[in-house]
């Protein structure tokens, strides 16, 4: 555990000093700022069935696909390329401690990005809103949306770490992560749009599909519904991805 704390502190420090992190943060905030701006614009033109914050969160997949791969791509790939991972593995620190430290550092950075995004609705509310007007930045929606991206982020970041373990090239790791996240989001979206209920021959898929509807999870969280099923899905997915990461690192070294 002492090694894990040491490694986590080192990873967080490295993330803080890395130009890659700051570039990713700038890209994330520019994307989210743009999305939020257009959502506000739409709302100002005509009444909408959703608030600007809800609309912004529904596009969570955009920063997920564009920014998260940049954040996780170097974690193992770069260390394997430079050989510093081998040097790290000669210490008594376990592979699991190394994987968990890198994962948690990346997840905390991802969480910090989303927390920074909260500044946008707050600024809008402070500049334009009137007291008690929750249309611009409903705290419950904000909190629920944030919970969703953080909980689903456990799986998404773990997938990024796993992809980074599989190659020595950071660019290839980013591409692999992008493909995995795209697949996961697309499957989640498809599970909601396909009329599985009406296809009797796909009856067996109904139950798993209910677990995988990513956008439904977002709506549930934003609506204040805390369903344990998505929690179990994302946490077990994260554990599986990290377990595979440990095996990948040990196998390759």
């Amino acid at each position: 555990m002492r090694h894990f704390r040491t490694l986590l502190a080192h990873e967080l420090r490295s993330a803080l000093l890395s130009g890659n992190t700051w570039a990713s943060a700038a890209l994330f905030l520019a994307l989210m700022g743009g999305i939020h701006f257009f959502a506000l614009l739409e709302c100002s033109r005509a009444p909408q069935p959703w608030t600007p914050v809800e609309a912004t969160f529904r596009l969570f997949w955009l920063p997920l696909l564009c920014v998260l791969p940049l954040l996780t791509m170097r974690s193992f790939a770069e260390e394997r390329r430079s050989g510093t991972l081998s040097a790290l593995l000669t210490t008594p620190a376990s592979t699991a401690a190394i994987v968990w430290a890198k994962f948690l550092a990346a997840w905390l950075t991802w969480a910090a990005f989303w927390c920074a995004f909260l500044a946008f609705p707050w600024i809008v509310q402070a500049r334009l809103g009137t007291a008690g007007d929750q249309r611009l930045g409903d705290p419950a929606t904000l909190f629920g949306g944030l919970c969703f991206v953080l909980v689903s982020g456990l799986l998404h970041v773990a997938l990024g770490i796993l992809c980074s373990c599989l190659t020595r090239s950071a660019a290839l790791a980013a591409l692999l992560t992008f493909i995995c996240l795209l697949g996961l989001t697309a499957i989640g979206g498809a599970m909601e749009s396909l009329p599985i209920e009406s296809w009797s021959w796909l009856g067996w898929l109904r139950e798993p599909a209910a677990h995988l509807r990513t956008f439904g999870h977002l709506q549930d969280f934003a609506g204040g519904i805390l369903d344990s099923r998505p929690l179990v899905l994302y946490v077990t997915g994260m554990m599986l991805a990290l377990g595979l990461s440990v095996l990948a690192v040990e196998g390759q070294e």
Binding site: R2, T6, L17, T84, T90, T91, P92, S94
Partner: protein, 329 residues
Amino acid sequence: MSDAAPQPEAAVAAERLTKRYGSLTAIEDLTFSVAPGEVVGFLGPNGAGKSTTMRILSGTMAGTSGRASIWGVSVALHPAEAKRHMAYMPENNPLPEDLRVEEYLRLRARLKDVAPDQVDARVAKVMEDCDLVRRASGRLIGQLSKGFRQRVGIADAILAQPKVVILDEPTIGLDPHQILGIRDLIRSLRGRMAVLISSHILHEVEQVCDKVVIINRGRLVAQGRTDDLRRELLPHVGFTVVAKAAPSELAALCAASDPAAEVDAGTPVDGGWTRYRVTLPAGSPARETLAAGLMRAGLPLREIAEERYGLEDIFLAATRRSPADGRRP
């Protein structure tokens, strides 16, 4: 790092170590040991399997069969405990470019279980020992010269005062001054730590090591103290003789001292003199009397000198012979 455990017979032990990559055998049946406090040179031509062996011993690679142990602890069964007794500096000495030397050593000290209240003192001590204090302590590792990077690698290796230090080509790419510094540093570890060091600079190994282990094509071909190996692998003594004589005349004179003496065809040098190489069996009494015998015979003699066989000769002789000859209990 507890000292309470009894000192094992071997600080490093490789027993019938084998590593295969598919059909390619990198090392096979490698058996050798390093005693506590001993400095051992690990030699072999390129591709002989030195780095593979060192990686298996350091726990960063699994062997296919056999047993590797560090301070009596199996590397495969108890990797974390084995790593507590050992430090390994890989061949290319990979270091994080974006950390300062002192920060890096602090991080490594914490990862190597140095007691928190000892970290500062240990880091200061190794930086002093490796001459890093004045010119490198506050600099980013990425800005350091090759020599200083090697020093940082060695400082990291001795940081936690391990029982065993494994250094893969620690002097590669260094200038003569830096090599001298690293040599002195390794010498200073003798008696305190068991050191297994691979190097292509044989003179370097001869200067520093108590014993050598020589492998070729993944198999052990010789191991032991340099003097013992010299006797075993080079069972003759050679003399350089510069004289004015025909080869047959010199051969006859040498045979008078020892019938087993051999004389080569000779190489003409200036002024009618010829340089010969005379070979005698190692234990020949003629070794002491050859020069006197040649002078007594009235041979015009300009020079006679006994050749000293260095580690290079031992290495060449060892790597030429069959690997099976090198296996010893």
